[in-house]
């Protein structure tokens, strides 16, 4: 494989294009609403209408507006022209398509009409998006490497291998200002530099695709929609740090992502884009998949590495950090899916271009998964620093059925609840941390006035309790006690003393736990205590507060606790 081969594949792919492209979403969200059946019906309708040489039906990745799936978009050019990457996505986006209504969509190509409703392309949900990571999502066919190559895929890897030294690549990443998208926001370039500087015969690159935060599905969508971008990003990283073996640790709960990755790795190997002597350089790199088995704690890097080694996924104290001693005690670079997916674009378009997007300390874009009590659930990608209000009210369309937004939960079980009053906060690492939450991996759960914050805190504490690995005492026993206290509050049996105990435990567990899971487990409690303390006080026992203490008057307005869900 040399660059000419790559260009030839891209040209061949482009030449085969047709004037009309019907794209059908084949990501997990739409698949669960039978988009497979829709695609088959579309194929049949095209055949029946005799339009095979004019119309291409393409299965693509996520088209973002997941709540309205299955989604189908039809792009059509004037006779003679073909649909190019640049012009794609201008046609109508049909919602909730069924196999029965699919044929009528094909009729529209010939000038007919359809009853299927189409989304408004001028809605802020679409116009306010800024795509880097999701640029190919919904456009390229994730199961065909040629489709990715035609969208300039693997060109960045070529440039890096043939024209840049590892140090130049690391410098470009430092200059771009990219920070880890897994949650903590550690500068990616700095991490790469540390691994690159550590001398060792064997180094590893790991992609953390163990997207465990409940309510987050960005990484799943990236893997299902554009798996090659992740592979290319990993290969560039491997060149930069001097690694020859990569692993992708992906959750067993994502079977579609696993199968797309397997296909992508196979295709890349066949074309020589993975393996030995890539682009006729001395660089060798192969990638293996490791399937998780249902343990949230394995998102923590040292636990993840233990799991890759086939052990119980328990974390170990850091230092030593993985960059010095990680997988099999070798220097290991470990980044999240979205981080790697940013890399090819940074190399292709330049570090300065990337650094020009976002805020001073948070560069680029961030993908968020909007879910919960919000009209438009789905995926959005926006520049860092976009105000939260713009995301949830304009793009997300606010709470459904005229409800009002009460809080936005970010960062999953490690994050916190941001009250509606703080919606004007720009979304970047530092602003969210100041509010007592975290950026996290990008899950954004919107809560309306029917959501009870103490119950939310209990929900997350139950999660942490179940997912605690049991190695260190504060997390193993502390989460049990905190959960017990929260349940006691919800049962209206707690006193002010219990609330103090809860706060004291939050501080202790946060300060003394071994890994990130325990250290951040109190966050949902602390942030709800900070912004919704009254809800806690309202639930305390009648005799818990002294005379004159607040909390009595509003007690009747608080709905009675429901029996807790789960077990």
């Amino acid at each position: 494989m040399v660059i000419d081969d790559l260009i030839e594949i891209a040209e061949k792919e482009k030449a085969a294009r047709k004037p009309c492209v019907v794209r059908c979403c084949m990501a997990a969200g739409c698949m669960s609403s039978n988009s497979q059946g829709v695609k088959e019906a579309l194929d049949r309708a095209v055949k029946a209408a005799g339009l095979e040489d004019r119309v291409e039906v393409r299965g693509v990745g996520c088209m973002k507006l997941c709540c309205q799936g299955p989604l189908v978009q039809i792009d059509q050019e004037a006779p003679g022209a073909t649909v190019e990457v640049q012009t794609i996505g201008k046609g109508p986006l049909y919602e909730k398509v069924t196999p029965e209504s699919a044929a009528s969509l094909i009729e529209t190509i010939k000038g007919g009409s359809t009853d299927v409703s189409a989304a408004d392309p001028q809605h802020p949900f679409f116009t306010q998006q800024f795509s880097i990571v999701l640029a190919n999502s919904g456009i390229v066919d994730p199961e065909r490497i040629e489709s990715y190559i035609a969208a300039e895929g693997y060109h960045a890897l070529h440039d890096v291998l043939r024209e840049m030294t590892p140090k130049e690549v690391v410098d470009a990443l430092i200059k771009s200002g990219l920070r880890g998208r897994g949650g903590a926001g550690y500068p990616t370039g700095l991490k790469w530099a540390t691994v690159a500087k550590t001398a060792s015969a064997q180094k590893y690159v790991i992609c953390n695709a163990d997207e465990g935060d409940p309510g987050a599905f960005m990484d799943r969508s990236v893997l299902e929609s554009d798996p090659h971008a992740v592979l290319e990003g990993m290969a560039i990283a491997a060149h930069a740090v001097g690694a020859s073996q990569g692993f992708i640790y992906v959750r067993a709960e994502y079977p579609l992502a696993i199968s797309r990755l397997q296909t992508a790795i196979k295709q890349a190997k066949q074309l020589g884009l993975l393996g030995s002597g890539i682009f006729e350089s001395p660089f060798n790199f192969s990638i293996d998949l490791r399937i998780g088995a249902g343990a949230f704690v394995c998102g923590e890097e040292t636990a993840l590495m233990a799991s890759v080694e086939g052990k119980r996924g328990t974390p170990r104290p850091r230092p030593p950090f993985p960059a010095e001693s990680g997988l099999y005690n070798s220097p290991t670079l470990i980044n999240n899916v979205e981080t790697f997916a940013n890399v090819p674009a940074i190399i292709r378009k330049g570090a300065d271009w990337f650094a020009g997007i976002g805020t001073e300390k948070s560069k680029g874009t961030k993908v968020f998964a909007l879910a919960g009590k919000i009209t438009n659930t789905g995926l959005i990608e926006v520049p860092m620093g976009t105000p939260l209000r713009k995301i949830v009210e304009e793009m997300g369309g606010g709470a459904p059925d005229g409800g009002t937004i009460k809080a936005v939960q970010t960062g999953g079980p490690s994050g916190g609840c941001i009250p509606a009053a703080a919606l004007d906060t720009p979304v970047d690492y530092d602003s969210l941390t100041k509010l007592g939450s975290i950026m996290g991996s990008g899950g954004m759960i919107v809560m309306d006035e029917t959501t009870r914050m103490v119950d939310v805190a209990r929900f997350f504490m139950e999660f942490c309790m179940d997912e605690s690995c049991g190695k260190c005492i504060p997390c193993r026993a502390g989460t049990v006690q905190m959960h017990h206290l929260l349940a006691k509050i919800l049962e209206r049996k707690a006193t002010l003393r219990d609330l103090q105990k809860l706060e004291e435990l939050c501080d202790m567990v946060r300060s003394t736990s071994l890994c990130g899971l325990g250290q951040t487990a109190p966050n949902p409690v602390l942030s709800t205590l900070r912004y919704f303390r009254q809800e806690y006080l309202d639930l305390l026992r009648e005799d818990a507060l002294g005379p004159g203490a607040n909390g009595h008057s509003s007690r009747t307005t608080t709905p009675a606790p429901q029996p807790a869900g789960g077990n």
Partner: protein, 238 residues
């Protein structure tokens, strides 16, 4: 082999760069409370009792796994650390059924001793009173899961010193427990060599020799230490 100089509780100390804070402290007679640490086997940093403050580091660091560094200013005792250590012990006492009065290890128990020395005089958290079994099937030893604090010393000595691998941890979170082979009665284990190292290593009354009653389970750690260090100290030769 390079020496590092630093301070522990205001005292100037020097130690080899490979030393942990715990080792360096014990060298100069400063005791840091520990439960999961056991001389001779590798550390896991699980009990969090040995956490210390280091000036300039925002997080508390486990003394057992943190190596010393030049100029480090270490503080092993403060009101905050004492409070956290007491709370850790309270959590342990509330987690399983630690009833000293009827325990074989009463007055020879590291958990009990720590509670005394750290001033943990009562438990403010609700006892969970879990129903854990007692495994009395082994011909020489017994295991009472009610007394287990999951320090995993027994697991480590079984694998790293004896090489038997009979003991391991199953499950996770509060439901994790020490098992023998496939979570079967200890007496039916096909791998147990009946060496007794696990019993010697246990800090509480969870593992005991058969035939002992309340307060009679004393442990001889010198044997364990001998096995680990005899080679380097050239004690094999009679």
């Amino acid at each position: 082999m390079a020496a590092r100089t630093f301070t522990i509780d205001g005292k100037h100390v020097s130690a080899d760069e490979s030393a942990t804070i715990l080792e360096a402290a014990s060298e100069v007679g400063i005791t840091i409370p520990t439960l999961c640490h056991l001389d001779g086997v590798y550390d896991v940093g699980a009990c969090r009792l040995c956490l210390v403050e280091v000036t300039g580091v925002p997080k508390l660091l486990p003394a057992c796994t943190t190596r010393v560094a030049e100029g480090m200013d270490i503080n092993t005792d403060s009101e905050r650390l004492r409070k956290y250590r007491r709370m850790t012990l309270e959590l342990l006492f509330a987690e399983r059924n630690h009833v000293c009065a009827v325990c074989v290890a009463n007055s020879h128990c590291e958990l009990q001793t720590l509670a005394y020395t750290l001033g943990m005089d009562h438990v403010r958290y609700e006892y969970t009173f879990p129903r854990w079994p007692v495994d009395n099937t082994h011909s020489l030893f017994g295991m009472d899961h009610n007394r287990c604090i999951m320090c995993t010393r027994c697991v480590r000595v079984c694998w790293h010193i004896e090489g038997a691998g009979t003991k391991n941890v199953s499950g996770r979170g509060a439901r994790s427990q020490v098992i023998s082979d496939l979570n079967q009665p200890w007496g039916t284990s096909e791998t147990c060599t009946r060496c007794g190292k696990c019993v010697m290593s246990c800090p509480t009354g969870a593992l005991f020799a058969k035939g002992v009653t309340v307060s009679e389970m004393e442990r001889d750690r010198t044997k364990l230490e001998f096995i680990v260090t005899a080679r380097e100290k050239k004690q094999w030769i009679a």
